[in-house]
Amino acid sequence: MRVSRGFSAVEVMVAVMVAATIGIPLLTLVFQERDTEQRSRFEYLALLAARDAAYQARALVACGQTPDSVKRDSAALTGNPLDELKAVWTDAPKLTEYSADQKRVTIEVKIDAAAAGTRMQVGTVNAGWVDPELAKSEKRRTSLSLVFPVVRPPGMP
């Protein structure tokens, strides 16, 4: 008669280790893929916001605003996208608003003062997509910068 002796503790441990060796990297891959996808999404949202801010600054100066007035301190996108145009559109309607994901993007616009008073000045948009405090501990990129010119129309003071 054949007697089944069951599994020993060592056999069970080996089986668990084999399963863990296969399972843990697989799960890590799943979570990494999710992380990469999210990062890519926020990078695109930041690029979109940075491009908008750069051309908005150019447009505002082209509409007769001074380069100094288009500077923006670092702040998260919020509310109505047309609110940023109030210098040239006092009663802009509220037609849409930034989504929850977009509100995690911060935008800062700087204008180089070195060429102040000349017709063309250089501006920089910094767009961040991670909380600046959190970004200090992050080793990967959490912001991007775009450099652009602002050009005063002829005859503008």
């Binding site: 002796r5 447009a59 082209a62 050009v151 005063r152």
Partner: protein
């Protein structure tokens, strides 16, 4: 001959509990893992659709010359409507060789197509010949069953005294003044991925709002060329 003792009831309960936890854990991880994979795939596809639509529209807006439909806003929920405008462009498109006397103008149309909640986004380019006659067109799907709503409000720059400009909606009265020009498009687009799991489907629907600037028009304003 070796002898084996039977497990005690306490050992059986402990081993049973551990085994149950392991099984529940594995099922949980596999289910959560597969949901995560599915969620990632869907949000990734949604991001691709949004990028396709917004990047192409951004390129078109950069070269925009004038708006059709008197600059009226476009809302995909109003059936049968199109976003239509004319650009001056030399970008590569699948178009026949331009006829002699062609001005480099192209009519661009965007529309959502389909009866499902998530629709195809279709962009049509029509080459304009002399006297703005159509001289060949091409069509591409920027998103397949991926866009749920698409709204565009054209915004115009209207000249003021002293060479300054103010902005207004392109279909508002001031935008009809001489010297007014289109400045940007305020765009709101929602995209997602169809799923049999409605909760998952609604989680992956993403809405974006942004302004796409008519870059060539902005440069013209900077040069003072439109005064």
């Amino acid at each position: 001959m070796t002898s084996r003792r039977a497990t005690t009831i306490v050992e059986a309960v402990i081993f049973g509990a551990i085994a149950s936890l392991v099984v529940v854990g594995i099922i949980g991880l596999v289910t959560r893992g597969s949901k995560l994979v599915d969620f990632s795939r869907r949000t990734s596809a949604t991001s691709s659709d949004l990028k396709n639509v917004l990047e192409k529209l951004s390129e078109d807006a950069a070269e925009l010359v004038y708006l059709d439909n008197s600059g009226k806003a476009y809302d995909s929920s109003q059936g049968g409507t199109k976003l239509s405008f004319v650009v001056r462009s030399t970008r590569s498109e699948s178009l026949p060789a331009p006829p002699s006397g062609a001005t480099g103008l192209r009519r661009i149309e965007y529309r959502l197509d389909g009866s499902d909640k998530l629709k195809d986004c279709i962009r049509t380019v029509t080459q304009l010949g002399p006297n703005n006659q159509a001289a060949g067109s091409t069509e591409e799907k920027l998103a397949v069953k991926g866009v749920s709503s698409f709204k565009v409000w054209p915004i115009a720059a209207v000249p003021q005294a002293g060479g300054k400009y103010v902005l207004s909606l392109a279909d508002a009265q001031p935008a009809g003044l001489g010297g007014a020009t289109v400045a940007c498009l305020l765009v709101e687009v929602s995209a997602g991925e169809a799923s049999s799991d409605s909760a998952l489907e609604s989680q992956t629907v993403t809405k974006l709002a942004t302004k796409l600037w008519c870059r060539n028009r902005v440069i013209e304003l900077s040069r003072g060329a439109l005064r």
